[in-house]
Symmetry: D3
Subunit: 145 residues, 6 copies
């Protein structure tokens, strides 16, 4: 059994070299998935990077607000987590360098009747705007599509 | 290069069969790590399970409040993340079934001079108190020891 | 043009005598709607009352977690609003007496192609557990179904 | 019996054509009320629009900080609600188009001895900065004057 | 010049021996003030202790909800601060031992025309339910009466 | 017995004339302490002012991220408290004029074996960007070093 969240987390943390293999395996079991990078002190750039990539790769339909709405809240949940509840980046003198992943598919490969879901994972470094003054952080949001 | 957060996340998500192998490898590079399970509608049981396990396995010193303080805030950060900012479990009619991991060691294997850190990962299912009415969630807190 | 949120708010605030009329009118334009009451110092009773009523009246399908998930988060958003961000009732020495409404249908009667949405409105009194020591509060959560 | 919150909500949602009628009726029972519009990605513009209108129309006294303080916190409570706890607009890649109402008067027309209160209602659309990619939201703050 | 907040903080931190002296001095400049103790893992006991003491000593009028409302929100602000944003005590496996102070009077002794305000200060220890596993915390809420 | 938090609060509130005396006394019992001022509508300036002063005066070591990390979270806790949970300054149309203090030393003078801690206190005025439209606020964060 595979699940959408685990797929998203492991794809995010995989070395680039394994990306194609994981992607191929996941697609066989019914998942679509994309991966990207974003570094910024501006929160809105994280939201924009995730949404743009998900639309471009066809993980959400551009013409249906409900798809954008679902992705927005999954991204917001992931963002709340990397901030650990106190929202803000540059305005709180901190910056992030993140890998993001969006996965679309069933909650688990044994729950197909429950329809499609989205998982957004943000993983990377959060810290002061000084090289090396940072530590890891992860956040994941799941939402029904 | 290995990092404390990635080590914690991958150990959490690993199938039980791989536990010993990952643990041995991590210990070679300077990490101590433990893994446990907790399912509850009571938030305090999560805090208690993590702390008890970390003390018993010697990841934090029982007689130094600063160790307990460091672990508490790492656990709180992880908890805030699995709740995605809105704190509460049973009182908000939801329950969790979690695997937790605590890792102690350097931020990365290339930053030994920066001393020891703790990583707490909570991963599992969150949802209604009805079988199968749940989805995955993850949270991680890092703190200097 | 009618919208799901406005329909939910006005139905919540209507005098009982007008309930049937509003309900009939809303159903003609494509909305299903229910109304109930809940008074408590326990947050979970609000969630339970809304979910039970919505399932019983068929506004969400009992056998699909995605419906329950959508309703849960709409209710959570409404709850966050009546608490104005600081979550808690009895544990913070306050109590609520609420009317709740759940509406299912299109975002507006001109956006049928965007599928079905849920609106949850909580409206009533919040205050000290002393008769008359209370004031009004409202919260609304919207979610795609 | 009429209450300050219900008066504020219904005035906010009324079609412009009914504004004068509602206003006249409310004033007879002891309420002063104003209504305005604000659309922005900048949170401070919402606070400024509400305060400026309330001062200009004499709902709060400009020379007494306590009046401004009361209005500020009523507006903050309403703002927390339209954001559903996660504060931010443009910085989180979302925008609002709102109608706002400020009402001044007794908590209810049967509680005159309890002095004057303020109600602030914000109602409108929240969503992506793309036409039509938005849904309704409402927030209300009440405070003693 | 004396201010309500500074008066409240210094009275809270004063050794018991100085209480009467500070109280007499503050009352001369127009402040009423009380001091008490509360230790608990239950948040509601803090609210109850502060309210009961303030009513008994006549700092707020028992028969006017607006006074209770003002005190409640000042106490809530102080409580949010001692929790540093993540609300909860026993449910998050932590406990507090607090001194609380309520002061009533002008914002400063030079701003008499602005009417009466309330200040609530909570100061003490927060930590694990283990002797000595705790550190200091302070919170203050101010509100117009 | 002296404690780090009380030392920090009383140093912050002391009239400038007493600064040297308090500082000398505190240093005798094992505390290092600094005091500064910052006024701004930009949250990041508060973080920058506290960090710069603490580094310059040697309260934290510039070359060890763990020191910066400890100070950052102590400052964040203090900041959350002066905002009373709803984070934001200029973006919420409010401004602060603050005195800040950083103290380094044992939790109390009787708990030397528990190592060094940091206390950050922010105290001053918060309010509208209009002269005199403001009231006092305080926040304190403690962290192990």
């Amino acid at each position: 059994m595979t699940s959408i969240g685990k797929t998203a987390i492991l794809y995010t943390l995989a070395a680039s070299a394994s990306d194609e293999e994981i992607r191929a395996q996941a697609m066989e079991t019914g998942y679509s998935l994309i991966k990207g990078k974003v570094g910024s002190m501006s929160t809105e750039k994280i939201f924009a990077a995730v949404e743009t990539a998900a639309q471009r790769e066809g993980l959400i339909r551009k013409d249906f607000y409900r798809d954008t709405h679902s992705l927005y809240h999954a991204t917001l949940d992931a963002y709340v987590s990397i901030c650990r509840g106190q929202l803000g980046l540059g305005n709180m003198l901190r910056t992030v360098g993140l890998i993001f992943t969006v996965v679309r598919g069933p909650r688990t490969t044994e729950q197909l009747e429950d329809g499609e879901w989205l998982a957004v994972v943000l993983y990377g470094m959060i810290g002061a705007p000084v090289k090396g003054y940072e530590h890891e952080t992860i956040g994941m949001g799941l939402n029904h599509l």
